[in-house]
C-alpha cells in the first residue's frame, strides 16, 4: 500500500468581501498516496481551483482565511511560514495551469523559464540548468529540444506549450503535481496526447497527481479516485469505478446524465442539471444542492435543514446526501428506464 503523501482535513478557505464572506471552500477532506491520481470534478465556482491553490499556498498575500489541515508528507502547511511553503513550491509540489499561453511569461524563452524554476531550488550553474531544461523538453516529447529551448512561448503550438509547462512543473521532480484544467484550452486531439503524457510521467516519476477539471471524460481516463465538489463542499468521493458505475449523489447523476457516454445507449438529448450554481456568500441551508435536486422532497425536509455529512455507501465510497441507499437505488433505476425509453 502506497504511503499517504497529501492529507487534507477539513480545509476551509474563506474570502471576506464587501458583500459578505465568500465560502469558497467549506470543509474538504481527502488523502492522496504516492503514485495515485485524484480527479477533482465540479462546476465553475465549486471550489476546486481554490482548493488546489490552497494546497500550493498561493493564497498567501490575499485576504483569504484558511483553516483546517494540509499535510504534505507529514508536514503541516496551514499556518506554516511563508518562506517554507515557498521552498516547497516548485520543488516538492508543483502546478500547471489551464492556458499555457498566458501562463508563460511572453518575454522570456521557454528554456529560461524552465531553467529558472530549476535554479530556484538547486544551486547549480546556469549551463547545468540550461542543459536540464533541454532534457526536460525532450522528456515531454518536444522534438529538437536543443533549438526549441531558445524559443519564446508564442513560437510554440498550443499542445507543445502545455508540454513545456509540464516540463517546467516537473523540472524539480516534485512529489505532487496539480494539474488545473490542463486540457481545457487545447484541441481534442491534443488533449489525448497531453493526458497520455501526464500518465507516462506519473509512472516514471512516481508522483501523486491531482487533476482538476469539469470534464468527466478527462477524469475517467486518468483518475484512480474522484472527488466531486459542489458549492465549496464535497458531494461525493470514491474510486473511478465507484463514481462511474454506481454514483451516489444526485449531483453526480446530473453530471453523468448531462455527459455524452460511449458505453451506454444513445440518448435523444443531453439532460442538463436544472438551475445555476449557488452564491458562495449565501449558501443554501442544509444540503447546498437541494434547490436543484429533484429528489430533495424525498428526504422529508432534511435536505433544507440539515447539512449532510459524507457517509460511506460502500467501502471507500462516500456520499454527502440524505437519501437512503434504497431511495438511491430506486432513483437510479427509474432514471435508467428513462434512458432506455
Amino acid at each position: 500500500m502506497a504511503e499517504v503523501l497529501l492529507d487534507v482535513r477539513d480545509l476551509r478557505v474563506h474570502f471576506p468581501t464587501d458583500d459578505g464572506l465568500v465560502r469558497a471552500v467549506d470543509g474538504v477532506s481527502f488523502t492522496l498516496e504516492r503514485g495515485r491520481t485524484l480527479g477533482i470534478v465540479g462546476e465553475s465556482g465549486s471550489g476546486k481551483s481554490v482548493t488546489s491553490l490552497g494546497i500550493m499556498g498561493l493564497h498567501q498575500g490575499t485576504r483569504a482565511q484558511i483553516s483546517g489541515h494540509i499535510k504534505l508528507d507529514g508536514e503541516e502547511l496551514v499556518g506554516a511560514p511563508a518562506a517554507r511553503v515557498r521552498e516547497l513550491r516548485g520543488s516538492k509540489m508543483s502546478m500547471i495551469f489551464q492556458d499555457p499561453l498566458s501562463s508563460l511569461h511572453p518575454y522570456y524563452t521557454v528554456g529560461a523559464q524552465i531553467a529558472e524554476a530549476y535554479l530556484v531550488h538547486n544551486k547549480v550553474s546556469r549551463q547545468v540548468a540550461r542543459k536540464h531544461a533541454v532534457d526536460m523538453l525532450g522528456r515531454v516529447g518536444i522534438p529538437t529540444p536543443a533549438t526549441r529551448v531558445d524559443d519564446y512561448p508564442h513560437q510554440f503550438s498550443g499542445g507543445m506549450r502545455q508540454r513545456a509547462m509540464i516540463a517546467m512543473a516537473l523540472s524539480c521532480d516534485p512529489e505532487l503535481l496539480i494539474a488545473d484544467e490542463p486540457t481545457t484550452a487545447l484541441d481534442v486531439t491534443v488533449q489525448a496526447q497531453i493526458l497520455d503524457l501526464i500518465w507516462d510521467l506519473q509512472r516514471e516519476y512516481q508522483s501523486a497527481v491531482i487533476i482538476i477539471t469539469h470534464d468527466l471524460g478527462v477524469v475517467a481516463e486518468l483518475s484512480d479516485d474522484i472527488l466531486v465538489m459542489y458549492a465549496g463542499r464535497m458531494a461525493e468521493y470514491g474510486s473511478a469505478e465507484d463514481i462511474f458505475d454506481s454514483p451516489g449523489h444526485p449531483y453526480t447523476w446530473g453530471l453523468l446524465g448531462s455527459m455524452p457516454r460511449l458505453d451506454e445507449a444513445r440518448l435523444d438529448r443531453l439532460i442538463p442539471i436544472k438551475g445555476t450554481p449557488p452564491s458562495l456568500i449565501n449558501v443554501p441551508s442544509g444540503c447546498p444542492f437541494h434547490p436543484r435536486c429533484q429528489y430533495a422532497a424525498e428526504t422529508g425536509g432534511l435536505s433544507q435543514t440539515e447539512v449532510p455529512e459524507m457517509r460511506p455507501v460502500a467501502p471507500g465510497h462516500l456520499v454527502a446526501c440524505h437519501l437512503t441507499n434504497d431511495q438511491r437505488r430506486a432513483a437510479r433505476s427509474s432514471a435508467a428506464h428513462l434512458e432506455d425509453a
Binding site: 516548485g90 495551469f97 501562463s103 508563460l104 511569461h105 511572453p106
Partner: protein, 335 residues
C-alpha cells in the same frame, strides 16, 4: 532584426520629407489662401513706412519672389548640400544642413538652433531621468501597497502633478525658491563645460517642475500597468514555481509592465527635445522651445521651418528608437 531597422530607417527619411513638405506648405500656402501675397509678407520685414522699392528689395533678398516649388527645392537642397547666398558683391556659403537665414536678423538659422540645443538637451534629459526613476518607483510601490495611505496619498499628489500647468508650478517655485528665499538665485543656463555645479544648480528648479508633471503621469501609468500585470497568469505561475516575491515583482511583473512605459518615455523625450516650450519660457532658458516661440512671434519663416524640422527629426528618431527597443524587449513583436 537588421532588416527591421533598415525598413524603419527608410520610412523615417520618407517621413521627414513629408513633414518638410507639409510644414513648407502650411507656412507658405495658407497665407496665400488667406489673401496675403509675398509683397505683404515682405512688408512685415521692412520696418515702418516701407517704400515700394524697399519692399521689393527685401522680397528679392528673402527669395520670396521665386515660385513655390523652387523655394521648396532650394530649401531641400540647402539641408542636404548647403547653399550659396549672393548679396551684391559678397557671396556667403551656408554649410549643410542649411536652413536658410533668419528674415529678421539675417543670421543663419542652423547655428542658432545648435547653440540652443544644449539647453534643451540638459533640461529634457535631466528631467527625464528624474521623472522616470521617481515615477516608476512611486508607481510600483503604490501598486504593491494598493489601497494603503501611501497609495492614496501618492496618487493624490500625482493627480495634482498632472493637473497643475508648468507655468503655474514654475512661477510658484521661482517665487518661493528664487526670489523670496534665494536658494536658487538667478536661474540662468550655465554650460556644463563652463561650470558643472552651476549648470546643475540652476537647472534644479526647471527639472523638478518639468519632472513633476511627467513623474505624476508615469506613476499613475506604472501603477496601472503593475496592477494589471500582477494579475496576469504568468505571475501566478512564477509564484507556483517557488520564486521569491521580489523576483516575481521585478523580473516578471515590472519587466512586463514597463514595456508600454518605455514606449511612452521615448515619445515624451522625443517631443521634449524639440523644445520644452512652457518650461523654457517660464524660466527664461534659451532653448529650442523659446526659439520656437520667438520664431512664431516674429513670423520668421526660415526659423520656424528650421525648428519644426528639427523637432520633427527628434520625434521621428525617438519613434524609431522606441520601435526598435520594443522589438528587442517584447519578442512577440519581432515575428
Amino acid at each position: 532584426m537588421i532588416t527591421f531597422i533598415i525598413r524603419r530607417l527608410i520610412a523615417t527619411v520618407f517621413l521627414l520629407i513629408v513633414v518638410s513638405m507639409i510644414t513648407f506648405a502650411i507656412f507658405f500656402l495658407i497665407p496665400r489662401l488667406a489673401g496675403q501675397n509675398t509683397y505683404q509678407l515682405a512688408t512685415e520685414y521692412v520696418g515702418r513706412n516701407p517704400t515700394r522699392a524697399a519692399v521689393l528689395q527685401v522680397e528679392a533678398q528673402l527669395g520670396l519672389d521665386h515660385p513655390l516649388w523652387l523655394q521648396y527645392w532650394n530649401f531641400l537642397k540647402g539641408i542636404v548640400a548647403g547653399a550659396h547666398y549672393n548679396s551684391g558683391t559678397t557671396s556667403t556659403y551656408c554649410p549643410p544642413p542649411c536652413f536658410g537665414y533668419s528674415f529678421r536678423s539675417q543670421q543663419p538659422v542652423w547655428p542658432q538652433m545648435v547653440s540652443d540645443l544644449p539647453v534643451t538637451l540638459s533640461l529634457a534629459i535631466g528631467a527625464a531621468v528624474i521623472w522616470l526613476v521617481a515615477g516608476v518607483a512611486i508607481g510600483v510601490i503604490s501598486a504593491l501597497k494598493r489601497g494603503t495611505l501611501f497609495d492614496r496619498f501618492s496618487m493624490g499628489v500625482a493627480l495634482a502633478g498632472v493637473s497643475l500647468p508648468i507655468f503655474f508650478t514654475g512661477l510658484i517655485s521661482l517665487e518661493l525658491f528664487s526670489y523670496k528665499w534665494p536658494l536658487f538665485p538667478n536661474v540662468q543656463y550655465v554650460s556644463f563645460l563652463t561650470n558643472p555645479y552651476l549648470w546643475a544648480r540652476n537647472l534644479v528648479l526647471p527639472w523638478i517642475c518639468l519632472a513633476f508633471l511627467y513623474a505624476a503621469l508615469y506613476a499613475r501609468l506604472t501603477r496601472a500597468g503593475m496592477l494589471e500585470t500582477m494579475s496576469e497568469d504568468y505571475i501566478r505561475t512564477a509564484r507556483a514555481k517557488g520564486l521569491p516575491e521580489r523576483t516575481v515583482i521585478f523580473k516578471h511583473g515590472l519587466r512586463a509592465a514597463l514595456t508600454p512605459i518605455v514606449t511612452i518615455f521615448g515619445m515624451d523625450l522625443g517631443l521634449l527635445l524639440g523644445g520644452a516650450i512652457i518650461t523654457e519660457y517660464t524660466f527664461s532658458l534659451h532653448g529650442l522651445g523659446l526659439f520656437t516661440i520667438l520664431a512664431i512671434q516674429n513670423q520668421d519663416l526660415p526659423e520656424i521651418l528650421g525648428v519644426t524640422m528639427l523637432a520633427a527629426f527628434f520625434i521621428v528618431i525617438a519613434n524609431l528608437v522606441v520601435d526598435v527597443l520594443y522589438a528587442y524587449v517584447d519578442p512577440r513583436v519581432r515575428h
